[in-house]
Amino acid sequence: MTTTPVAEHAAHPTTIDSVVIRFCGDSGDGMQLTGSQFTETAAVFGNDFATFPDYPAEIRAPKGTTYGVSGFQVHFSSRDIHTHGDDVNVLVAMNPAGFRTNIRDVHPGGIVIVNEDEFTASQLKKCGYPDGYNPLQDDDLLARYEILPIPMSRLTRESLADSEMGAKAIDRCRNMYALGMVYWMYDRPLDPTIAHLNRKFGGAKGKPEIAEINIRALKAGYYFGETAEVFPAKMRVPPAKLEAGTYRRISGSEAMVLGLVTAGHKAGKRIVYASYPITPASNIIQGLANLKRLGAKTFQAEDEIAAVCAAIGASYAGNIGVTGTSGPGLALKAEALGLAVMFELPLVVIDVQRAGPSTGMPTKTEQADLMMAMHGRSGECPCIVLAPRSPGDCFGMAVEAVRLAVRQCCPVIVLSDAYVANGAEPWRVPDLDDVPAIEVRHPSRAEVGEDWLRYTRDASTGAPAWVLPGTPGLEHRIGGLEKGEDGNVSYDPDNHDRMTRLRAEKIAKAAEVIPPLEVRGPESGEVLMLGWGGTYGAITTAADALRARGRSVSSAHLRYLNPMPSNTEAVLRSFDRVVVPEINSGQLRMLIRSRFLIDAAGINIVRGRPLNVDTLIERVTELMDGEGGAA
């Protein structure tokens, strides 16, 4: 790795172990790019990190309004971290609207760098400040935060004064100017971002002049930090001490895409991914559409129902049918999921959950589709349900989804969420050889023998064979009507009762091949914090902190929700109290209570945002000290 020469000559920086930075501005200000570049650099530098992109559903909301604010938070550390951080240490606000919507998340004493050129009377008014008020002159705010007004627009223009580019193009470099300043503050190399800008604009786009002015603005911001002496001491966050191996930055969507193609490869099958555009799941089909070189076929269907039906057809004809969506789309797919349960064909359904109901808050996270995944279909209709706990975990859970769908011949619903899908973390790249092969069998006439019936079940899995059309001598019919073992229609009452049980037993049998639930911390004690999905980081960090304070608190995270690992009940019963934090009104808690008759308590916050570690610590402490908690 090379470093920027100026960094090497810089004064000795102060070493700190962890920083949370949030970049915010208009949705057209390039904040997502700025944040992801900072992340990429932190990754290359060797920090552990977690990110939280937070953007509006509107692509370009009216400029300067609070609802058009886009933000990107990066937590980077020399320690092993699990969340994007509750409190912001450094806020970079490119306009008053960004300042206004984000300032309350800044830790008291935190640094707030603002583009003061944008704090004009009209901009202040546009974001709703009262006439005559300027937050940069508010004594309370100035006392609470270290506010650093910097004329970024002017400085960017001046640094590019000799450029022949238009004013608009120059103004669009402000984000790189800001990034340059922050790079200086944290003693970061510029090279990764310079390389990225050259690739992004200089390559296929053929606009090296755009790359050039962005790079110049980046450097100008960096040099400003060095010479202007407006910033507090330069700080250094050393690389994290991670397990040895090859690492990369990965987002949940990227990991899901990689996991699917890896599973396809391990099964010797194509992935056929059928989907309809929906936030925040569209990144998966877009990612796979670019992986035809690995045999992936993608199909942008006419609607959500067509997408799941095409995936079912794809599995029937012998590939791995996968569909992906978000909550409203999963609701539309419900009937077809019932069909796949009845057919007993492999199917993977990815639900990147977002805040609902209905259109809800499409870009915000939530965990409120668990009950829909478990029960949201007509009839007795069990599916396997999995949930990745972090961006990198999407890789493994995608592979697991394919493995279990193929083994049990049933739909597997993967509950991701907006936070997991859009967030990023360092990921230790697994050795492809360590990913076990996925065994697939399509029997021939000779292999099944003369007595074969379509729904003859394998004793170990409880699943029927995956017989493909095109196989001579095994012609048969399947359908959504209840069937007998031969696949033909049956209205026999006892048969329906038996088939209902067999379909449920088959799902339950998957527990025999899934890993046990692991406890972090002592395996028995006062409180077990039990979670699932994207809250892993917050719950783990909170439980660790409580233990560090001498509290008897352990944590466990369910990645397999149906069936649950076979030791789940034993784990839960080893603690006096089970507390289930969720971004919903208590859906896992309801399952735990109904299944095990364990009186679990809930911490339920439904704000469309990830859970805060401090809030969890506070609520669990209250609960333990007898001050309440939702029961």
């Binding site: 790795m1 990429e40 990754a43 290359v44 060797g46 092993d80 990764p192 001490k241 397990e243 040895a244 191996g245 090859t246 690492y247 930055r249 990689l258 890896t262 490869h265 056929v272 059928a274 035809k292 070189r293 690995l294 045999g295 992936a296 076929k297 199909f299 269907a301 006419e302 609607d303 067509a306 997408a307 039906c309 095409a310 995936a311 079912i312 057809g313 794809a314 029937y316 004809a317 012998g318 590939n319 009937e335 077809a336 019932g338 057919f343 790249v429 697994p430 492809l432 059309p469 095109g470 196989t471 001579p472 001598g473 012609e475 048969h476 019919r477 399947i478 959504g480 033909n488 972090r520």
Partner: protein, 350 residues
């Protein structure tokens, strides 16, 4: 199976019996569906494809029970979604011969969107629409092809819906093969079914089918021996549109509109329209020829085998892009473009 998208030819000579499954047919006695089933079982052996390469797919409705009665691979899916499932089958394995058989409610009401999109994509499959202009399985409600004013279980004062014309619908969607037949006309059915299944692309066959329980006689004007010659005109490529018991009547187009003429009464045969099944612009005019103002056209209205099929193109894009060493490519992709190495193991994530 072959790689080039053609199902291989059966080495064994098959008969209609070979395509009959062991299931008892459970349609009402006298239902028009029996005739279509018989025609299908007779047509397939003469096409020469292996029977294991056929997949019959249906939605919900009386007609949708069709796959159970064919001894091929078959899927009885959910209401309206047969074409979405069928599209997935073809994307997954373009070598299979996929035939969708369903009714007017299934394909033109709840599933109309999928019918439209399969046609516009030109997925290589056959759609057989058994049009009885009624919901039979749910006991007699009006369907999207029922005539205006029709009195049914849900329209006691008469339906206020104007019906959709299936052939116009198919033409608007860009369907590359459009044909029509009547359940009682076995030779006509045989011809269009065989041509439809052999067509490369989406082929659409509308069958006038009698529901003798809930809509008996809906097509009698076109199906009965005494009136058929006057109320229908059989299309043959390259031949003029002549009809009538004595073959003395014909159709000519003037300013794009059809006109009925008597052949002996002034118009010579050369003025009559010569059917050109490659001319897409005519399909709409044909579709507007409706009883009682005009005889209704039967046979192959339109056939364009030139346009490439969706599934073949999807397959081609992937095959062109596929790398030889998938394993190496996957390892490269997993590592990404910006990876870094951590050498010592200290305080790893617990």
């Amino acid at each position: 199976m072959s790689e080039n998208g053609d199902a291989t030819v059966s080495e064994v000579k098959l008969s209609a019996k070979d395509f009959a499954s062991d299931q008892d047919v459970r349609w009402c006695p006298g239902c028009g569906d029996y005739a279509v089933l018989a025609a299908m079982r007779k047509a397939l052996p003469r096409l020469g494809h292996k029977k294991e390469d056929y997949v019959f797919v249906s939605g919900i409705g009386c007609a949708a029970r069709f796959p159970y009665y064919m001894d091929t691979y078959g899927m009885h899916t959910i209401h309206g979604r047969s074409l979405a499932v069928a599209t997935g089958i073809k994307i997954s394995n373009p070598d299979l011969k996929v035939v969708v058989v369903s009714g007017d409610g299934d394909l033109l009401s709840i599933g109309a969107s999928h019918t439209f999109h399969a046609m516009r994509r030109n997925v290589d499959l056959t759609i057989v629409l058994l049009n009885n202009r009624i919901y039979g399985l749910t006991k007699g409600q009006y369907s999207p092809t029922s005539e205006y004013g029709k009195i049914t279980a849900t329209t006691p004062e008469g339906s206020l819906d104007y019906p959709v014309n299936p052939v116009s619908f198919a033409a608007a969607a860009g369907c590359t093969f459009i044909a029509r037949a009547i359940d009682v006309d076995q030779p006509g059915l045989d011809e269009v079914l065989r041509r439809a299944i052999e067509h490369k692309g989406t082929s659409f066959v509308e069958v006038y089918q009698d529901c003798n329980i809930f809509n008996h006689g809906a097509w009698f004007y076109a199906s009965q021996k005494d009136s058929r010659a006057e109320t229908t005109v059989q299309l043959r490529h390259g031949e003029p549109l002549v009809y009538g018991k004595d073959r003395d009547r014909g159709i000519l187009f003037r300013n794009g509109r059809p006109i009925k003429v008597t052949v002996e009464g002034g118009a010579s045969a050369s003025d009559l329209v010569t059917h050109d099944e490659t001319d897409r612009s005519r399909v709409h005019v044909y579709s507007q020829m409706s009883h009682p103002d005009f005889p209704e056209v039967m046979g192959v209205l339109y056939a364009n085998p030139e346009r490439r099929t969706y599934d073949a193109m999807v397959d081609e894009q992937v095959r062109n892009a596929e790398v030889e060493d998938r394993e190496a490519e996957l390892r490269r992709l997993m590592k990404g473009s910006e990876s870094w190495e951590v050498h010592e193991t200290v305080d790893g994530p617990s």
